[in-house]
Symmetry: D3
Subunit: 140 residues, 6 copies
């Protein structure tokens, strides 16, 4: 029940089509998902979002592509975005996600959501030593 | 400005002390963080939370301990729990987090929060192929 | 799959009917939406919510009615309330929302959700000059 | 208590400096806010975020710049990001926000957060007529 | 670091003062909290919010006043609103909250936040029998 | 459209079956809900979650079982987890929830979500007296 029409490749403007082709080539896929076909109603957002996503999820970073997909799923579950949970689980599967890894991912997400609230419920103060450690990442 | 007094080892009941000692041994640390010292006001919750966290974050799972910490941080940033962000960044640093990895983590968290809302804003339908892929994890 | 029966005008008590009639007159509509028909199971909440909404969304404020609907949609997308997103997009359309405006709205919502987390991820401190500016709104 | 050092113009790499100069020129400001000075620790994210924000918040869109700032503040309040609330209120003030408009903005944000939950609490179904209206934006 | 000046009784307009007096009388308190003193900058919102809160939290309902305060705290912890958590814990204490009840409250809030995400992570379908039961509340 | 197969009793491993039997005995029910049947794909999480939930929701605490269910529903509505809202409303009904109590619950949840944002929108400072009161719970 999307609020916009999905734009197929046959109907796409040259600008939209260029993004579609880059998606297909970059991801080595044959078809374009509903997310991009919906965004194509706003070519500016389509281009910008794809360009950002492509850069952020690029395989040449410090984090493994599978790890990035896990992070993506963790946020999506927390926010309750089923579309995003499903699509990034599918991407994670392609990158090697096993059932055991999926189970551990979901259990960590559940635990983090719980302790986030235990911490807020008691208004726990940040330990100076933890702040110091977190602030000195990369300064070894 | 925590809402409870932090319970130090010197004041701890035997039951609380047993948890503290397990934390120190498991994590190879010398002191107990404010989070646990606050939870110690409720020994049931202290025991249960530590037991769950210890099991979920155990190093013998399918996911690397560093990856689990990254997932924890991703959820904590999304929920806006500064205590949790700081403490799990500190744990991630111990597990090998570099500044570049931290930067990539935060950028993925930001991107996921953005596309979660783009997806919701247009009420994008889940692609049957993605649902099928996400539903068949572990069935190769 | 609402958890309560929708209360139609034919079944409505005089108290509920009075609210329904005020909704129809104020909004110049012929029928009552599911939201109000569900709230009618709790006449206190129906009355209070309609009275508050009517006052807040009144056309004689400093903000244009269309702008208020955009703000409403922005919150609803962020919270993942599809009913609210759809109903306030429908109201915004009546107030003049074009497809381009809708696209820009969603892109701003996405961007804000992203930078909210970039800001939290690095625990950025509020600039004194920004705080000073935000604190002196209306004091020119 | 930011987790990274703020990067001043004097210390900035040419790449970071180029972004800083574009920010100053685009916004007609003399100094760079903490948000950008924190992001400068990750030049990729700095560049990408600024480029996206500049495009999305550009004054030549269908929505007025002040309206975009109001939407930004609405999301930031909903997510509880004080930095973002303050910085975008400051930007909105520059764009003409009065105290009365600020008050109305906050009241709409509050109301939307309330009715989002009333709607979820009763699992209200989307009215077909509303879905139809929301789906036909721009199709007049 | 509130974004508005707190309005004291001495400075209050007759309209604001009437609300202040009703708050003091209804709650049997001597002074007005910052929340109301901030809202007083927008008398419409002050009046409406107080009137709604007074009605919803009234002691003559089906739920005990203490139970309502617990619900209020549960929501506030989940949303990360420290002000609200603290002020409604203070109100709950007045209504009889013990330390053990507070501990149980926080543990339920933590657990609910966890299972909310376990449920979303696996996209669990609502059981027809549960939906039927939840839909027939009050129909015995 | 759950992402895992539901595990029925007939297919369950002895370890899963033991949890199922404890659920049935503890709750005096005949069948196992989808939530547990989904979690059974990850026996560690099934066992841990049930053990925690059983302890937290136990009837011998300081809070009444019905009150705990109300708190659970309040969190679930706030997070937008329909499964959890429905299943805990069903549990609350079993524990005595009336329609009037349900209506009051939802109205308090709505109100809290609203004032959470009014408070954040104005960045209201915590009153020292409220902090003092909230910090001295149980110290009479």
């Amino acid at each position: 029940m999307a609020l916009v029409k999905y734009i197929d490749e046959a109907q796409a403007s040259p600008r939209v089509l260029a993004v579609y082709q880059d998606i297909k080539q970059t991801r080595q896929v044959e078809s374009i998902n509903n997310f991009w076909r919906a965004l194509a109603n706003d070519p500016d957002t389509l281009e910008r979002t794809w360009r950002s996503l492509k850069a952020i999820m690029a395989p040449d970073g410090a984090l493994d592509p599978l790890v990035k997909e896990l992070i993506y799923v963790a946020v999506s579950i927390t926010n309750g975005c089923d579309y995003c949970t499903v699509s990034h689980l599918a991407a994670a599967r392609k990158a090697g996600l096993t059932a055991q890894m999926r189970n551990e991912l979901i259990s960590v997400v559940g635990m983090a959501n719980e302790t986030n609230r235990l911490s807020r419920g008691y208004l726990v103060d940040i330990d100076p030593a933890l702040l110091q450690a977190a602030s000195s990442i990369g300064e070894e």
